[in-house]
């Protein structure tokens, strides 16, 4: 647990401006040359309720939220003061202070708004006593009063940033620049006054007793602060996607919103429709019309997509669907992450799955694998799903802008031109053999799009003949089914032999112990493995992205190379460990599960602890809210 990093937590009520304030502060830290990573925690409520954002900043690269935090800016909850709300929810004003203390590191700094949080409430918390025990340094500042003096009460978050900057010895330059970008006129002027006043007042009024200061760093290249949702949306844009239909659902709404704001300008279409059945069905229609299209949702909405998804499989419609997981079942924890829709997404819809599923583990992978999903979908005429979760959706990280300097790929894959169509196989009545199982390379029978001469065909959800007519002949059935499934084998071969691996590896090449993870748990695992190796343990890791067709070769090689392995995932039943066993048919006795399903993502320390307990073979659980599920036979 090093303090060469800052983990700044800003806590308040939903609607107190936590998001925008933290976003700008993270950018300011990034502009000062640091690597930053943000983590968002919020309730399913529009206003009020305890919410916080953490910003982790360090000179080195940061891939996770880290363990605990070392600076708390507690704004209190300004929306909790409505007496009717208080009667319903209890005294929430204090929660942004009281609810955050458990994870504050030793020697940490606390700033709270003494203009909003009363002395009595603070006394009730035994804050003084606890601060002494933990070596915390507490700075009460009347942020509300400061804000009111120059502007309006809502600007108290700016006062909080000013106090933070003073305590951390952070230059105000970047914060001022970002404020000037975001606002103007009287509002800007008032905010700048509040910022400076807070900064100066803090320096004058307090004797600094804490050691924590903002780290310093330097970037060689231009950076951008992006979320996983940004990355998925931009991956779609660069893949040439121009059509999206959707229905709002947290956390998927972020991707839908970004594309709704960009597609119309780019000549594309974004439509909010009546439900998720329609959303995916519209995307199927657009794909048939020859436009790269997508839809998406979170688990509950994705359930409704099972019909159009099955239709896309049977009609071999290229399509990309995004599934942004949150904790379930049913409505579950609507704003909290979980990796518990893996089995659901692999098998949604009746019958044998004929689809591709990628699970990116970080922001760069989210961009690349969304593009990959479009490439594969249009080359092989198959639906491709990108599955991620609320954690990756909402977390922000700085990315080198040059990362996005690449060609866009608008081509329609295995679609014929009109000239090629003339040469293509037709039946005696002149119908194009759209679903031809003879000479279909890799199972792919090229398609036509409406408007092309000589390309007319029927796409049907029934089993069909080469020209697309309903056909129940057993020979035809077997030939069509095998052709469609052959595409999955061809995709696996392409991924293994022609493309850079989408799996990510951590730690040394040779190690005794392996940690396997997938999706957004990657960052915490990466950091845990680094820590374990620094402490003299022999541990390596793999983060798997190819769920279907499964990365069989790479996962087998990894498991063969270690004595024992632990599978880390955010769900209660070890779905990914189950998938490995199903796909590989063995290793059940080699893999332990480390599971977490309390609504919060893994911290690196929890993975380290899970490893320690597991290796020590002690008959205990590492933590009240993290579970170890032993390997088969243990």
């Amino acid at each position: 647990m090093s303090d060469d990093e800052l983990i700044w937590r800003i806590a308040g009520g939903s609607g107190d401006g936590i998001d925008s304030t933290s976003q700008n502060f993270a950018k300011a830290l990034m502009r000062s040359g640091l690597n930053v990573f943000t983590h968002r925690h919020y309730p399913s409520r529009i206003r009020g309720g305890h919410t916080y954002v953490e910003i982790r900043a360090a000179e080195r690269e940061v891939q996770s939220r880290g363990d605990g935090y070392n600076f708390l800016l507690s704004l209190g909850d300004s929306f909790a003061r409505n007496p009717q709300e208080e009667a319903f929810y209890g005294n929430e004003e204090i929660k942004p202070l009281s609810e955050n203390l458990d994870e504050l590191r030793e020697g940490g700094v606390i700033v709270y708004d003494s203009g909003l949080i009363s002395d009595e409430d603070v006394a009730d918390l035994n804050l003084e006593e606890r601060a002494e025990e933990n070596g915390w340094h507490v700075y009460p500042v009347d942020l509300r009063g400061l804000a009111k003096e120059h502007g309006r009460e809502v600007m108290r978050n700016t006062a909080g940033v000013g106090v933070t900057a003073a305590l951390l010895d952070l230059d105000l330059e970047h914060i001022e620049d970002l404020m000037s970008d975001a606002m103007g006129g009287d509002v800007l002027e008032a905010n700048l006054e509040i910022l400076h006043d807070a900064y100066e007042m803090t320096e004058e009024d307090f004797e600094f007793e804490h050691d924590l200061r903002a780290p310093t760093g330097d970037h060689d290249t231009e950076q951008a602060l992006l979320s996983g949702s940004n990355a998925i949306a931009y991956g779609a844009i660069d893949a040439g996607c121009r059509f999206i239909a959707g229905y709002p659902m947290t956390p998927w709404t972020d991707v839908f919103t970004i594309l709704s704001q960009n597609f119309p300008d780019m000549g594309g279409v974004s439509e909010q429709v009546e439900d998720e059945i329609a959303a995916a069905a519209l995307a199927v229609g657009a794909s048939h019309a020859g436009v790269k299209s997508m839809s998406g949702s979170s688990g509950g909405g994705f359930a409704l997509m099972s019909e159009p998804l099955g239709l896309a499989e049977m009609t071999e419609t290229p399509l990309v669907l995004i599934e942004s997981m949150r904790a379930g079942p049913s409505t579950g924890l609507p704003t909290k992450p979980e990796q518990s829709d893996l089995e659901f997404v692999l098998y949604t819809s009746q019958a044998d799955s004929q689809r591709v599923v990628f699970a990116p583990g970080n922001i760069e992978e989210a961009y690349e694998q969304t593009r990959l999903a479009f490439d594969i979908a249009w080359d092989y005429q198959i639906p491709a799903i990108v599955i991620y979760d609320q954690k990756l959706s909402g977390e922000n990280k700085n990315v080198d802008i040059e990362f996005f300097d690449r060609e866009v790929s608008p081509d329609l894959g295995s679609t014929l031109t009109e000239d090629e169509l003339r040469e293509a196989a037709h039946d005696n009545s002149g119908k194009f053999k759209r679903f031809n199982y003879e000479d279909a390379e890799d199972g792919v029978s090229p398609r036509s799009i409406p408007g092309q001469k000589g390309g007319r065909y029927l796409a049907t959800g029934n089993e069909h003949s080469p020209v697309g007519h309903i056909n129940e002949d057993p020979d035809n059935r077997v030939a069509q089914m095998e052709r469609r499934l052959e595409k999955l084998e061809a995709i696996r071969t392409e991924l293994d032999e022609e493309r850079d691996s989408t799996q990510t590896y951590f730690g040394p090449d040779e190690a005794d112990y392996g940690i396997i993870t997938w999706g957004s748990s990657q960052g915490a695992v990466e950091e845990a493995i680094e820590r374990l190796n620094n402490d003299g343990h022999s541990v390596k890791g793999i983060s798997v992205s190819d769920m279907m067709p499964f990365a069989e070769k790479e996962v087998t090689e990894f498991l063969e190379s270690v004595d024992e392995a632990m599978v880390v995932e955010m769900n209660a039943t070890g779905q990914f460990r189950g998938l490995i066993q199903k796909e590989l048919g063995r290793y059940g006795d080699k893999m332990t599960s480390l599971l977490k399903f309390n609504g919060n993502p893994f911290e690196p320390g929890e993975v380290v602890e899970g490893y320690e307990v597991n290796v020590a073979e002690e008959d205990q659980q590492p933590d009240a809210q993290v579970r170890i599920e032993p390997a088969a036979g243990d």
């Binding site: 950018k27 940004n230 780019m266 000549g267 329609a278 229609g285 657009a286 048939h288 020859g290 409406p450």
Partner: protein
């Protein structure tokens, strides 16, 4: 559009498996004739259908076509047209497909006013599953799953469309071939969502809403010189009149602006308008 397109160009070599005498023959013939008469080319036409007897139409017509899942024909058809305004889109459905399992889509397709036509073969029965009540069946219509009748009033699809903000509402009768074709033609030519409910009798399972019944009870609005389809109040009156079975265009909004015009959708989406961001690189800079 080529002027030498004949309606037989829309016909496939597959013979329909509908029961002899089924209203769907006449309904489909009228659709093909209307498409040809309005100058559409089968290579530029996309027909979408759902499930049920009506769903088979994509097999019997020879255009680009999709035979999808039950109740979801309208969303697929809208997806085609919203991304390719240059394609002629016609969606065919049944009363179960459109007013029961797909009723939610119907309401919103009407609102969205995509420039396409929607022809519903309304036989007031589920035929392909061998005779169960449909949402337009009479409340006392006895079937295998409703032994004493559904005991609930039938849906009035025209009123549902009107209440959803429709820009074109019409009704026709499959055996009145010429009028049916004319009405479908008007739906195709309408700038927006052209909805036609077609009385398409099921000769096997519905012995109430028969050819004879419709022949005896049909009132053609064309014969009513006073009926002005652009008059909303007049349309309302006809649509809510449950005593008669009307044929004709009940309502047409002459100021209808279809989806692609409202949203400025062009025929070629791969062309990015001048000055617009072209790729992710253009967009990420604002996140510095």
């Amino acid at each position: 559009m080529s002027s030498d397109v004949r309606f037989t160009d829309f016909k496939s070599d597959k013979q329909p498996t509908w029961c002899p005498g089924c209203g769907d023959f006449g309904t489909m013939n009228g659709m093909m004739k209307a498409l040809a008469e309005t100058g559409n080319d089968p290579d530029n036409t996309f027909v979408v259908a759902g499930i049920g007897c009506s769903g088979k139409i994509g097999t019997y017509m020879h255009s680009y076509a999709l035979h999808g899942v039950h109740g979801r024909a309208l969303p697929v058809g809208q997806g085609v047209k919203m991304s390719r305004p240059d394609i002629e889109v016609m969606v065919a459905g049944g009363d179960g497909d459109g007013y029961s399992i797909g009723a939610g889509h119907f309401v919103h397709a009407v609102r969205r006013n995509v420039d396409m036509s929607y022809v519903v073969m309304d036989n007031r029965i589920y035929g392909l599953t061998k005779g169960q009540a449909s949402p337009t069946s009479r409340s006392d219509f006895e079937t295998s799953t409703t032994p004493e009748g559904p005991k609930q009033p039938p849906v009035n699809p025209l009123a549902l469309a009107l209440a959803s903000g429709a820009s074109f509402i019409a009704q026709s009768f499959a055996s009145d071939a010429l009028r049916h074709q004319e009405i479908v033609q008007e739906a195709i030519e309408h700038d927006g969502f052209g909805f036609v409910n077609v009385f398409s009798p099921c000769v096997t399972f519905n012995d109430v809403d028969t050819y004879d019944y419709f022949r005896d009870n049909l009132v053609d609005l064309q014969e009513d010189e006073d009926h002005d389809p652009t008059d909303y109040e007049a349309a309302k009156e006809v649509i809510l009149d449950s005593d008669k079975e009307y044929q004709g265009v009940m309502y047409q909004d002459d100021e209808s602006v279809p989806y692609h015009e409202q949203h400025g959708v062009t025929e070629n989406m791969s062309e990015i308008p001048d000055g617009a961001p072209e790729d992710a690189m253009d967009l990420v800079r604002e996140f510095y």
